[in-house]
């Protein structure tokens, strides 16, 4: 079974802090994604990556950056956390063709105070 793990289930940070969210997948998938999930808005794509050291902006990249130094690991970075970044963050991965199923991690619920 594909397994996507995220470093924290719950995280509480202060406004202005730098925040790192880590995601690791164990199935050698080429593609990795970061989404945020907010009530009534579904999931919105922040950034994605098709290969190591490669990144593409999604629909809501402002205030975020990413890093992919190894194939299995994709990090989301909040350079200076703000209260409007309080949300559930979901990582996903998929193989080859992007029309394939994406496999999701359990999510990190981030609260910025």
């Amino acid at each position: 079974d594909v397994k996507v793990t995220q470093s924290s289930r719950y995280l509480v940070k202060r406004t202005g802090e730098k925040v790192f969210l880590e995601c690791v997948q164990d199935m050698d998938h080429e593609n990795m994604f970061w989404y945020r999930q907010d009530p009534g808005l579904g999931l919105r794509l922040i950034y994605f990556s098709y290969d190591v050291k490669m990144k593409e902006k999604g629909d809501i990249p402002e205030g975020y950056s990413v890093s992919r130094e190894k194939k299995e690991r994709f990090s989301l970075i909040l350079e200076s956390a703000s209260t409007n970044q309080t949300s559930m963050y979901l990582c996903a991965s998929s193989s080859g063709d992007t029309y394939n199923e994406q496999f999701f991690g359990p999510g990190t619920r981030l609260t910025v105070l």
């Binding site: 999931l43 994605f48 359990p106």
Partner: protein, 112 residues
């Protein structure tokens, strides 16, 4: 541009009765469509997917969905709800870029 609309934010059914979760899509070409389910405190799991083969798609846990091009719909159904079906359900259209576009989600409540 592709988009997807889930017509109900909340659906409540009694255990043993049918489930209908409605989804309409907009696409300038024949799309690929998914349904995902998210149980409380869990990640999203793929229920089923349509990729231009049979229009009636069967998924896990007794769910199925029918692709209707004339109605631009991809409604999710199950003949008999179980308590374990209580979750949030997302309809997804695959954009021409390969990105997934999610609907707003439908929360399914199952009453005993």
């Amino acid at each position: 541009a592709q988009s997807v609309t889930q017509l109900d934010s909340h659906v409540s059914v009694s255990e043993g009765t049918p489930v209908l979760l409605r989804c309409n899509y907009s696409s300038s070409y024949s799309p690929s469509l998914f349904w995902y389910v998210q149980h409380p405190n869990k990640g999203l799991q793929l229920l089923l997917k349509y990729t231009s083969a049979a229009t009636l798609v069967k998924g896990i846990n007794g769910f199925e969905a029918e692709f209707k091009k004339s109605e631009t719909s991809f409604h999710l159904t199950k003949p008999s709800a179980h308590m374990s079906d209580a979750a949030e359900y997302f309809c997804v259209v695959v954009a021409y870029t390969g990105k997934l576009i999610f609907g707003q989600g439908t929360t399914l409540q199952v009453k005993p």
